[in-house]
């Protein structure tokens, strides 16, 4: 391939299309293409391919992320149906979901760490059997057991103190972390251990004023991988499941979708921020 100066290489033709060509060679390459219709057509085809690829995926960058991503819009905020060409409103919403995701990382106190430690210790001793995570075929069973935790639940008449002595195995990193949902109006009504096919699952039962209870359940997962939250069933009687830090989680109850997702976001944030010390 000859043009002005050194010969034009195949790499330079690609560089011209991809914007990775020395500015000093641009003229030489363009002059070469002007004299070589066959290569010019080839380069033009590559340009069209580039445009097709970029256009096909443009919506992903410009649109909102699925709520289930860790940095993505969550419940009660931005939905996954926004439009491209975002204005200030969406920018504010985007900022809001980012703040919601990270703010707890700064302000988390784990005020009820005692309960977590006891729960973790309980599960550490019980749930050792390997098990597939919620996204697998076992998810249905896991969700069904999580939902069963709410059946005919009677809150204890008196508060039960679950404070550990600080020497228990609550620091075991392999034990599932049970987050404490400190949301206005919620009250931790009790903890229920639900027998499963493989080990025990522990469920925190939360009560809401003049509304049905909901449960946050966790069990040890055999798979170390993590998964995004997924909805099982139909609202208002649905469950959101996910795998995080070697544990399967399920949040279930008769809540509107937005509320259940917001709670799931809060739970995931707390689990992610938990350092166990």
């Amino acid at each position: 391939m000859h043009g002005h100066g050194p010969p034009v290489s195949e790499a330079e033709l690609h560089g011209l299309v991809d914007g990775d060509l020395d500015s000093g060679r641009r003229e030489a390459v363009q002059a070469y293409l002007a004299a070589s219709p066959e290569d010019a057509a080839r380069v033009e085809k590559w340009r069209r391919q580039n445009e097709t690829i970029r256009a096909a995926f443009a919506a992903v960058e410009q649109g909102p992320l699925p709520w289930s991503l860790p940095l993505a819009p969550g419940a009660g905020g931005v939905t996954a149906t926004g439009n491209a060409g975002l204005g200030q409103a969406e920018a504010r919403a985007s900022h809001a979901w980012r703040e919601r995701w990270f703010a707890p990382l700064i302000g988390l106190s784990f005020a009820s760490g005692a309960l977590l430690a006891v729960s973790a210790a309980y599960l550490a001793g019980r749930a050792n059997a390997p098990e597939a995570g919620p996204p697998s075929a076992a998810a249905g069973t896991f969700v069904a057991r999580a939902m069963s935790a709410l059946r005919a639940f009677v809150p204890p008449s008196a508060a039960v103190r679950l404070s550990p002595n600080g020497e228990g195995p609550g620091q075991d990193a392999a034990a599932p972390i049970l987050p404490n949902l400190l949301v206005d109006g919620l009250r931790l009504a009790g903890v229920r251990a639900v027998a499963g096919d493989q080990g025990q699952m522990l469920c925190l039962i939360y009560a809401r004023p003049e509304a049905a209870n909901f449960a946050l359940c966790a069990e040890t997962a055999g798979d170390a991988g993590e998964s995004v939250p997924r909805v099982s069933g139909n609202f208002p009687s649905a469950a959101i499941t996910w795998r995080q830090k070697r544990a399967n989680y399920a949040l279930t109850g008769a809540l509107p979708e937005s509320e259940l997702r917001a709670l799931a976001d809060t739970a995931r944030t707390q689990v992610a921020a938990f350092d166990g010390r």
């Binding site: 991809d18 085809k45 995926f57 991503l69």
Partner: protein
């Protein structure tokens, strides 16, 4: 800029790359979104130790995602073929092009063409064209030389032209023209 802000800025692009790589389509993909989540979480957790910012952070994220995608494919090959079939999660390649079902729409046709590329060709093409990395950056992400990257780009473009131009499955089976040219 704080790490969290940088991760937030990278997330949509990373999601775009993951979906293109894993499913060839812009729609939400379980596997792709899981990969993105895992990469963001890992980087966030290790962020302080890594001390990565700016372009280095971007390169790290894409390197991690590309490697984990390959690992997932390898696990699929060894552990269960169901994973490979799920969501068109495909290593691609000329054989895949022949095995893919006849696309129903132009969008599906394009996705099929993208997935029909060999994995290393798809990675190179998407990093340069879709994500806008320079040849040097893309080569660094893929841990290959600049020359090897350009060869993959050449091969990918030739294959993509052939696949998208094909009107019948029989044309997919044709041998690709050589992308090597004699430079005088």
């Amino acid at each position: 800029m704080a790490l969290r802000e940088e991760l937030n800025l990278c997330a949509p692009r990373l999601c775009r790359y993951a979906r293109a790589l894993a499913s060839g389509q812009p729609q939400p993909s379980e596997i792709a979104d899981d990969l993105v989540q895992a990469v963001l979480l890992r980087t966030w957790e290790a962020g302080t130790a890594l001390r990565l910012t700016g372009p280095n952070l971007h390169l790290h994220l894409y390197t991690l995602l590309t490697e984990w995608h390959r690992d997932k494919l390898a696990a699929g090959r060894m552990g269960g073929k169901a994973l490979m079939k799920k969501e068109n999660f495909s290593a691609g390649g000329p054989r895949a092009a022949g095995n893919l079902p006849v696309p129903a729409s132009p969008r599906d046709k394009f996705a099929a063409a993208l997935l029909a590329l060999a994995l290393e060709e798809r990675e190179a093409l998407l990093l340069v064209v879709l994500e806008g990395f320079s040849y040097a950056q893309a080569a660094r992400i893929l841990k290959i030389s600049r020359t090897a990257l350009i060869m993959r780009l050449t091969s990918a473009r030739a294959a993509l032209s052939e696949t998208t131009a094909a009107k019948s499955p029989s044309r997919l089976a044709k041998t690709r023209p050589s992308y090597l040219r004699v430079v005088k």
